[in-house]
């Protein structure tokens, strides 16, 4: 069975190489779930979209490595 995991990261090729199955690309290495260049509310909205994408990835049946 196994436990579904989303790997949220910015360097997708590394995630693929190490064998993550559900991959959600993020913003940047030092701030995967944020963007300091955005206004506070915009940044929060961006984070919300990313986390919702993570939840969708966890609910998506997959047969092979998938980048969402």
């Amino acid at each position: 069975m196994g436990l579904p995991v989303v790997h949220a990261c910015s360097i997708v090729p590394i995630s693929k190489t190490v064998g993550a199955n559900r991959i959600v690309p993020t913003i940047a290495i030092p701030h995967p779930f944020g963007d300091p260049d955005l206004a506070r509310q915009e940044e929060i909205q961006l984070r919300k979209e990313l986390v919702k994408k993570v939840l969708r990835a966890l609910m998506s049946p997959i047969e092979e490595q998938t980048v969402f």
Binding site: L3, V5, V6, T17, I29, F33, L50, M59
Partner: protein
């Protein structure tokens, strides 16, 4: 001089029975069995003095106990006078048989720790036991199944002879699984010269051989999807080094030796007062300002309150993924996965920087 050998086999190759005998406790038999007989016929200068046979399931279910039983059965052989003592312990070949391979690995590891003799097993490169035991046990390459028996035995004996003579062995030349050891030697050409000639060959489309093989990572089948996250328990893990202020577990900025488990009870967000990053491999400015940028607890809590997430596991797990060894990372992952499963977590978000 005849080389005295003790051979480990499973119930099938040991001529005791098939799957119905897989629960067989270890038995010590005099002389050679199965592949051991072929070994003696191919190489008259070896003598199999005894064969230890055990069932695959017995070894898998009671590994510790089985290994102890095997060691005590073998002890009398190693209390004999030097001329009578076995010089070599062989296990398998196990080909691509998973349980048999794991048994050969466990038995070889124990025998070489307890007795003074050369120890060698033989498996197909994709046998699951290879990843488990290759650093500890010398594993000669075998074919995928029993049709490669003779070829696998010839290779195994070739390597055994070198071991017994104390000759230098190399994974490529002697066809065994690399054990991850480094050996210093002087090369006639500098690294720069070798790298340039490799590059020229690559550009010209000619074959070249790397001096440093990239690691091959294991693969796992994707886990089934969570039917409904609004009813599921979510766990959080990060390799981005987000820890409580002061880094209570002293997780290193690079080459981490441990992970930390940190409470999320009553915590709605991460702030620069409560948490920090200790990762030494990226500019920490943005994570220090707002740790939610690496581990988005604020948004997870919000979506939990809005009903998109059933509930959040009461702790999160953190380490630093900066030049951290694959062996350490694998161990952290195993332990964390066990804790998550024990806590009834059904889905995991792992964030990396």
């Amino acid at each position: 001089m005849t080389v005295k050998v003790i051979h480990y086999l499973n119930q099938f190759f040991g001529e005791i029975g098939g799957e119905e005998k897989a629960d067989l406790a270890p038995v010590l038999l005099q002389g050679a069995r199965g592949p051991g007989k072929l070994l003696e016929r191919l190489f008259p200068d070896l003598e199999i003095v005894a064969t230890i046979v055990a069932g695959d399931n017995y070894l898998a279910k009671h590994t510790g106990k089985a290994v102890k039983e095997i060691l005590s059965a073998l002890t009398p052989y190693f209390e004999k006078e030097a001329v009578e003592m076995p010089q070599l312990f062989l296990a398998g070949p196990a080909f691509n048989a998973g349980r048999y391979g794991l048994a050969c690995g466990a038995v070889c590891k124990a025998v070489q720790e307890h007795f003074d003799c050369s120890v060698l097993t033989s498996m197909f490169q994709d046998n699951p036991a290879v990843q488990e035991y290759r650093h500890d046990v010398l594993i000669c390459l075998a074919g995928e199944d029993v049709t490669s028996m003779e070829e696998s035995l010839r290779r195994m004996w070739g390597l055994a002879v070198k071991l017994l003579k104390g000759e230098e062995i190399l994974p490529g030349d002697d066809q065994y699984i690399p054990q991850g050891r480094r050996r210093n030697f002087f090369h006639s050409r500098t690294g720069a010269q070798r790298a340039v000639s490799m590059l020229l060959k690559k550009i010209a489309g000619e074959p070249y051989k790397t001096e440093y093989e990239m690691p091959v990572f294991d693969r796992v089948a994707p886990a089934p999807a969570v039917p409904d996250m609004s009813r599921a328990k979510l766990g959080l893990v990060t390799s981005g080094g987000i820890v409580p202020r002061g880094n209570p577990d002293r997780i290193a900025a690079a080459n981490a030796q441990r992970f930390g488990t940190y409470s999320l009870k009553g915590l709605l967000t991460l702030t620069s007062e409560t948490h920090q990053t200790v990762h030494g491999g990226y500019d920490p400015t943005f994570a220090m300002e707002d740790p939610n940028r690496v581990l988005p607890l604020d948004m997870i809590r919000k979506l939990e309150a809005e009903g998109d997430i059933g509930c959040l596991h009461e702790a999160y797990y953190a380490t630093v993924g900066n030049a951290t060894s694959v062996a350490n990372a694998r161990n952290f992952g195993k332990t964390i996965a066990q804790e998550l499963l024990a806590a009834g977590v059904e889905a995991v978000l792992l964030t990396s920087t």
